[in-house]
């Protein structure tokens, strides 16, 4: 087996840059921009850095950090504590399950996988909202949120792509 060539500094960035991005996106979501039509759906830009984090992180820190960021999202979004935390953790687990497929995959494959996982997680979002909240969101608006998230992938992915360039494809697997 060939040892991984990822340097500790790069590994540090691979963990902390996505986490910081998720934190900032959670906060930025609440900047008053005066757009009522956007408030009727949840666009999950945070899932892009989360995909990156789940692809490259190792150890126990990342899933715990994802749980805590989910709690932060719950607190700032006025949703019951556990709602977004659960969705974040499920998305993280789903990406972990696809690590072998995503590793060194072509850009379009990564995008398509992200799209599939996004629609899956937004379906879970809808079901969970029906089960646990007094307000049922519109299914069409939920799926539109998923679509916009998927369409935003290339833009956000640009920021993270350079972080993944130094890895050895044969790593520890």
């Amino acid at each position: 087996m060939v040892a991984a060539t990822t340097t500790p500094a790069r590994r540090f960035l691979q963990t902390w840059v996505p986490l910081l991005a998720i934190f900032l996106l959670i906060v930025a979501e609440h900047v008053p921009l005066g757009r009522d039509w956007l408030t009727n759906m949840d666009i999950g830009f945070v899932f892009v850095p989360m995909l990156f984090l789940a692809r490259y992180s190792e150890g126990f820190f990342a899933p715990i950090a994802i749980l805590l960021l989910g709690v932060l999202k719950d607190v700032t979004s006025d949703t019951p504590i556990g709602f977004w935390s659960f969705l974040f953790c499920v998305f993280f687990i789903l990406v972990l399950g696809q690590r072998q497929l995503l590793y060194n995959a072509a850009y379009n494959t990564v995008w398509a996988t992200f799209g599939f996982l996004c629609f899956l997680i937004y379906t879970v979002f809808y079901v969970l909202a029906v089960l646990s909240l007094s307000v049922v969101p519109s299914f069409a608006a939920t799926m539109l949120g998923a679509l916009l998230t998927v369409l935003a992938f290339p833009l956000f992915n640009l920021a993270f792509d350079w972080l993944s360039q130094d890895d050895d494809p044969l790593g520890a697997y």
């Binding site: 006025d78 659960f86 690590r99």
Partner: protein, 283 residues
Amino acid sequence: MAGFGPRKGEKRLLTGTGIAFICALLALLLLFVLPKNDPLIVDLRQKSFDVLMPVFRMVAWPFDQMRAAGKNMNELMDLRQQNADLLAENQSLRENIETLTRDSALLSQYRQLLSMPIETEAKVIGARVVADLRSPFVKTLVVNRGQEDGVAIGQAVMGGRGLVGRVISVGSRSSRVLLATDLNSHIPVVTLSGNVRAILSGRNESQPVLTFLPRKADLQNADTIITSGDGGEMPIGLPVGKLALDEHGKPFVQLHDDLDQLVHVRLVLSEAVPDVATPVRGR
């Protein structure tokens, strides 16, 4: 690439995926076990807004600058027209002042004749909207005024032209405002010309509706809606919006303020209005 699971020859009780599963279960447990409106949770949310307020400001700064620049450009382009409009408005307001001064004097005399208590003076403070928490589930805002400024739960929140909501939780430096359009918002109101009492109820849509109307209520389209002061939390007579009827004849209210454009709001720091039956001291 480093693996998420144990390396060769390494024994681990739990893998990263296992931890992620435990985290997901913990989140699910929190979701279904924690009471949704527990005062501790509400307090935690409010305290987190107090802490996060500088971050909200920092993230909002570039957006604020862009919006200000756009607004400046628009204002510069419309300067001449705005000046003409303001002159006309000024003339109209000057004419209204005379009528209002006379009405105010008459009202004061009538109040004395009827021995009615004078409404408590409402102190109004301005606040800035620092976070917009509107989502498919809730319609709330966070403003940068809290207990230190005299804000308390239940106080009315006004936009530039009318009521937009009320305070639902207060931190030391920030407060959360439940907008009139939120599903949980219920505000006692009255129609100005018909004197019909009702409850202004949000439904998570762009406009709130009137509920608990009397059976044969005389509702007139475009009638002005003001707060009735019932319950004592809000002062009487705060402007809310205009009554409108939808295609099925159901009444809803077009709020005076556009909730999308709220950058600054006014908090009405009034105390509870004394009961009319209570004699007023010193009169």
